[in-house]
Protein backbone atom coordinates (compact mmCIF):
# COMPACT_ATOMS: atom_id res chain seq x y z
CA UNK A 1 0.00 0.00 0.00
CA UNK A 2 2.82 2.36 1.02
CA UNK A 3 4.62 1.42 -2.13
CA UNK A 4 1.53 2.11 -4.22
CA UNK A 5 1.09 5.52 -2.56
CA UNK A 6 4.75 6.34 -3.15
CA UNK A 7 4.51 5.17 -6.75
CA UNK A 8 1.45 7.31 -7.34
CA UNK A 9 3.17 10.36 -5.79
CA UNK A 10 6.21 9.88 -8.01
CA UNK A 11 4.16 9.54 -11.15
CA UNK A 12 2.12 12.62 -10.15
CA UNK A 13 5.35 14.54 -9.61
CA UNK A 14 6.63 13.41 -13.00
CA UNK A 15 3.36 14.36 -14.55
CA UNK A 16 3.53 17.79 -12.89
CA UNK A 17 7.10 18.27 -14.08
CA UNK A 18 5.99 17.36 -17.56
CA UNK A 19 3.06 19.77 -17.35
CA UNK A 20 5.35 22.54 -16.05
CA UNK A 21 7.79 21.83 -18.88
CA UNK A 22 5.04 22.07 -21.49
CA UNK A 23 3.61 25.16 -19.83
CA UNK A 24 6.94 26.99 -20.06
CA UNK A 25 7.53 25.73 -23.58
CA UNK A 26 4.12 27.10 -24.47
CA UNK A 27 4.87 30.47 -22.84
CA UNK A 28 8.16 30.60 -24.70
CA UNK A 29 6.40 29.85 -27.95
CA UNK A 30 3.59 32.27 -27.23
CA UNK A 31 5.97 35.22 -27.07
CA UNK A 32 6.33 34.80 -30.84
CA UNK A 33 2.63 34.23 -31.43
CA UNK A 34 -0.31 36.44 -32.30
CA UNK A 35 -3.93 35.69 -31.65
CA UNK A 36 -6.32 35.30 -34.55
CA UNK A 37 -10.06 34.84 -34.51
CA UNK A 38 -11.51 32.41 -37.01
CA UNK A 39 -15.02 31.15 -37.56
CA UNK A 40 -16.01 27.64 -36.38
CA UNK A 41 -16.10 26.55 -40.02
CA UNK A 42 -12.56 27.81 -40.71
CA UNK A 43 -11.31 26.27 -37.46
CA UNK A 44 -12.81 22.92 -38.40
CA UNK A 45 -11.30 23.01 -41.92
CA UNK A 46 -7.91 23.99 -40.52
CA UNK A 47 -8.05 21.13 -38.04
CA UNK A 48 -8.82 18.75 -40.90
CA UNK A 49 -5.83 20.02 -42.87
CA UNK A 50 -3.58 19.79 -39.79
CA UNK A 51 -4.81 16.20 -39.31
CA UNK A 52 -4.05 15.29 -42.93
CA UNK A 53 -0.58 16.82 -42.60
CA UNK A 54 -0.02 14.96 -39.35
CA UNK A 55 -0.74 11.65 -41.11
CA UNK A 56 1.50 12.61 -44.01
CA UNK A 57 4.41 13.86 -41.90
CA UNK A 58 3.95 11.29 -39.09
CA UNK A 59 4.38 13.95 -36.38
CA UNK A 60 2.19 16.45 -34.53
CA UNK A 61 1.22 19.46 -36.66
CA UNK A 62 -0.08 22.67 -35.11
CA UNK A 63 -2.79 24.86 -36.65
CA UNK A 64 -0.11 27.49 -37.17
CA UNK A 65 1.95 25.06 -39.23
CA UNK A 66 -1.16 24.07 -41.16
CA UNK A 67 -1.80 27.72 -42.02
CA UNK A 68 1.82 28.23 -43.09
CA UNK A 69 1.56 25.14 -45.25
CA UNK A 70 -1.56 26.54 -46.91
CA UNK A 71 0.05 29.91 -47.52
CA UNK A 72 3.22 28.56 -49.06
CA UNK A 73 1.63 25.74 -50.98
CA UNK A 74 -1.04 27.86 -52.59
CA UNK A 75 1.16 28.69 -55.53
CA UNK A 76 3.48 25.70 -55.42
CA UNK A 77 1.36 22.60 -54.98
CA UNK A 78 -0.24 20.54 -57.69
CA UNK A 79 2.05 22.08 -60.30
CA UNK A 80 -0.29 25.07 -60.55
CA UNK A 81 1.52 28.12 -61.82
CA UNK A 82 0.31 31.68 -61.96
CA UNK A 83 1.71 31.95 -65.46
CA UNK A 84 -0.65 29.19 -66.62
CA UNK A 85 -3.23 31.96 -66.70
CA UNK A 86 -1.25 34.07 -69.18
CA UNK A 87 -3.55 35.19 -71.96
CA UNK A 88 -6.77 34.29 -70.16
CA UNK A 89 -8.09 37.85 -70.46
CA UNK A 90 -9.43 38.83 -73.85
CA UNK A 91 -8.68 42.55 -74.03
CA UNK A 92 -6.90 44.70 -76.59
CA UNK A 93 -4.23 47.28 -75.67
CA UNK A 94 -6.70 50.01 -76.54
CA UNK A 95 -9.46 48.61 -74.33
CA UNK A 96 -7.06 48.25 -71.39
CA UNK A 97 -5.79 51.82 -71.89
CA UNK A 98 -9.40 53.09 -71.74
CA UNK A 99 -10.24 51.04 -68.66
CA UNK A 100 -7.02 52.16 -66.95
CA UNK A 101 -7.88 55.81 -67.61
CA UNK A 102 -11.36 55.26 -66.25
CA UNK A 103 -9.96 53.54 -63.15
CA UNK A 104 -7.55 56.38 -62.58
CA UNK A 105 -10.48 58.82 -62.73
CA UNK A 106 -12.43 56.65 -60.30
CA UNK A 107 -9.58 56.84 -57.77
CA UNK A 108 -9.46 60.62 -58.12
CA UNK A 109 -13.18 60.89 -57.37
CA UNK A 110 -12.81 58.55 -54.36
CA UNK A 111 -16.45 58.56 -53.49
CA UNK A 112 -19.54 56.54 -54.14
CA UNK A 113 -22.92 57.96 -55.07
CA UNK A 114 -24.90 58.78 -51.94
CA UNK A 115 -28.07 56.76 -51.65
CA UNK A 116 -30.82 57.19 -49.12
CA UNK A 117 -31.02 54.42 -46.56
Amino acid sequence: MEQRKSGTATSRRESLNETTYYFFSLVEEMTELKTVKVSKQTYSKLSEIAGELQVKLKRPVSLDEAMQHLLTSKTKDKGIKITDLAGSWDMSDREWAEIKASLSEAWKRWQLPVTEL
Binding site: L71, T72, K74, T75, K76, I80, K81, I82, T83, L85, A86, G87, S88, W89, D90, M91, E95, W96, I99, K100, S102, L103, A106, W107, K108, W110
Partner: protein
Protein backbone atom coordinates in the same frame (compact mmCIF):
# COMPACT_ATOMS: atom_id res chain seq x y z
CA UNK B 1 9.27 44.79 -40.33
CA UNK B 2 12.10 44.13 -42.78
CA UNK B 3 10.91 43.28 -46.28
CA UNK B 4 11.73 39.83 -47.59
CA UNK B 5 12.83 39.84 -51.23
CA UNK B 6 11.25 36.45 -51.83
CA UNK B 7 7.78 37.57 -50.73
CA UNK B 8 6.35 39.91 -53.28
CA UNK B 9 3.22 41.92 -53.93
CA UNK B 10 2.54 42.21 -57.66
CA UNK B 11 1.01 45.49 -58.82
CA UNK B 12 -2.16 45.65 -60.95
CA UNK B 13 -0.51 46.68 -64.23
CA UNK B 14 1.70 43.61 -64.15
CA UNK B 15 -1.13 41.24 -63.26
CA UNK B 16 -3.17 42.67 -66.12
CA UNK B 17 -0.19 42.23 -68.45
CA UNK B 18 0.13 38.63 -67.30
CA UNK B 19 -3.55 38.03 -68.01
CA UNK B 20 -3.14 39.73 -71.39
CA UNK B 21 -0.06 37.64 -72.17
CA UNK B 22 2.49 40.46 -72.39
CA UNK B 23 5.59 38.35 -72.90
CA UNK B 24 8.27 40.12 -70.82
CA UNK B 25 5.94 40.27 -67.81
CA UNK B 26 4.91 36.61 -68.16
CA UNK B 27 8.60 35.62 -68.40
CA UNK B 28 9.49 37.71 -65.35
CA UNK B 29 6.69 36.26 -63.21
CA UNK B 30 7.54 32.78 -64.44
CA UNK B 31 11.15 33.32 -63.35
CA UNK B 32 10.32 34.48 -59.82
CA UNK B 33 7.70 31.76 -59.49
CA UNK B 34 10.30 29.12 -60.39
CA UNK B 35 12.66 30.60 -57.80
CA UNK B 36 10.00 29.86 -55.20
CA UNK B 37 8.95 33.44 -54.42
CA UNK B 38 5.73 33.78 -52.48
CA UNK B 39 3.47 35.62 -54.92
CA UNK B 40 0.79 37.89 -53.61
CA UNK B 41 -1.20 41.00 -54.31
CA UNK B 42 -3.31 43.30 -52.16
CA UNK B 43 -7.03 43.70 -51.77
CA UNK B 44 -6.71 47.10 -53.51
CA UNK B 45 -5.17 45.46 -56.58
CA UNK B 46 -7.91 42.83 -56.45
CA UNK B 47 -10.48 45.63 -56.62
CA UNK B 48 -8.71 47.08 -59.67
CA UNK B 49 -8.64 43.70 -61.43
CA UNK B 50 -12.36 43.22 -60.81
CA UNK B 51 -13.00 46.76 -62.03
CA UNK B 52 -11.16 45.93 -65.26
CA UNK B 53 -12.98 42.66 -65.72
CA UNK B 54 -16.43 44.14 -65.10
CA UNK B 55 -15.72 47.08 -67.39
CA UNK B 56 -14.44 44.90 -70.23
CA UNK B 57 -16.30 43.78 -73.34
CA UNK B 58 -15.68 40.10 -72.53
CA UNK B 59 -16.92 40.43 -68.98
CA UNK B 60 -17.77 36.79 -68.21
CA UNK B 61 -14.50 35.40 -69.54
CA UNK B 62 -12.33 38.06 -67.94
CA UNK B 63 -14.16 37.84 -64.63
CA UNK B 64 -13.67 34.07 -64.46
CA UNK B 65 -9.96 34.48 -65.25
CA UNK B 66 -9.63 37.18 -62.58
CA UNK B 67 -11.17 34.88 -59.97
CA UNK B 68 -8.85 32.04 -60.99
CA UNK B 69 -5.82 34.31 -60.70
CA UNK B 70 -6.82 35.69 -57.30
CA UNK B 71 -7.50 32.19 -56.08
CA UNK B 72 -3.88 31.29 -56.81
CA UNK B 73 -2.35 34.38 -55.26
CA UNK B 74 -2.18 35.33 -51.61
CA UNK B 75 -4.39 38.40 -51.30
CA UNK B 76 -3.13 40.66 -48.51
CA UNK B 77 -5.88 42.53 -46.69
CA UNK B 78 -5.82 45.93 -45.07
CA UNK B 79 -5.86 45.93 -41.28
CA UNK B 80 -5.61 48.58 -38.58
CA UNK B 81 -1.80 48.60 -38.78
CA UNK B 82 -1.71 49.07 -42.56
CA UNK B 83 -4.55 51.62 -42.39
CA UNK B 84 -2.51 53.68 -39.92
CA UNK B 85 0.60 53.35 -42.09
CA UNK B 86 -1.31 54.48 -45.19
CA UNK B 87 -2.53 57.54 -43.32
CA UNK B 88 0.99 58.32 -42.10
CA UNK B 89 2.54 57.91 -45.58
CA UNK B 90 -0.08 60.07 -47.20
CA UNK B 91 0.13 62.91 -44.66
CA UNK B 92 3.95 62.92 -44.47
CA UNK B 93 4.34 63.09 -48.25
CA UNK B 94 1.61 65.69 -48.50
CA UNK B 95 3.48 67.85 -45.97
CA UNK B 96 6.58 67.64 -48.18
CA UNK B 97 4.51 68.64 -51.19
CA UNK B 98 5.03 65.18 -52.71
CA UNK B 99 1.61 64.02 -53.76
CA UNK B 100 0.85 60.33 -53.80
CA UNK B 101 -2.54 58.87 -54.63
CA UNK B 102 -4.63 57.21 -51.94
CA UNK B 103 -4.35 53.96 -53.88
CA UNK B 104 -0.54 54.00 -53.87
CA UNK B 105 -0.48 54.89 -50.19
CA UNK B 106 -2.76 51.94 -49.34
CA UNK B 107 -0.92 49.37 -51.49
CA UNK B 108 2.46 50.55 -50.14
CA UNK B 109 1.25 50.46 -46.55
CA UNK B 110 -0.14 46.92 -46.86
CA UNK B 111 3.08 45.76 -48.55
CA UNK B 112 5.28 47.42 -45.92
CA UNK B 113 3.43 46.30 -42.83
CA UNK B 114 3.24 42.68 -43.98
CA UNK B 115 6.98 42.57 -44.74
CA UNK B 116 6.70 42.12 -48.51
CA UNK B 117 8.47 43.78 -51.45
CA UNK B 118 6.46 45.46 -54.19
CA UNK B 119 6.94 44.48 -57.84
CA UNK B 120 5.84 47.45 -59.89
CA UNK B 121 6.48 49.65 -62.89
CA UNK B 122 5.78 52.66 -60.73
CA UNK B 123 9.30 52.73 -59.20
CA UNK B 124 10.05 56.42 -59.65
CA UNK B 125 6.79 57.48 -58.07
CA UNK B 126 6.97 55.07 -55.14
CA UNK B 127 10.61 55.76 -54.29
CA UNK B 128 9.26 58.65 -52.23
CA UNK B 129 8.38 56.04 -49.60
CA UNK B 130 11.81 55.34 -48.17
CA UNK B 131 11.05 52.15 -46.21
CA UNK B 132 9.28 50.45 -49.12
CA UNK B 133 11.28 47.68 -50.87
CA UNK B 134 10.69 47.88 -54.61
CA UNK B 135 11.45 45.43 -57.40
CA UNK B 136 11.43 46.70 -60.97
CA UNK B 137 10.36 44.57 -63.90
CA UNK B 138 13.19 44.41 -66.46
Amino acid sequence: MAAARDRVVIDTDLLVDLLRDVRNVVDFIDEIEKKGYLLSTTIINAFELFYGAYKSKKRAQNLAATKRLLDRLIVLRMNLKSAEKAGQIHVELEAKGQLLGIRDAMISAITLTKGYSLVTRNIQHLQKIKELALIAVP
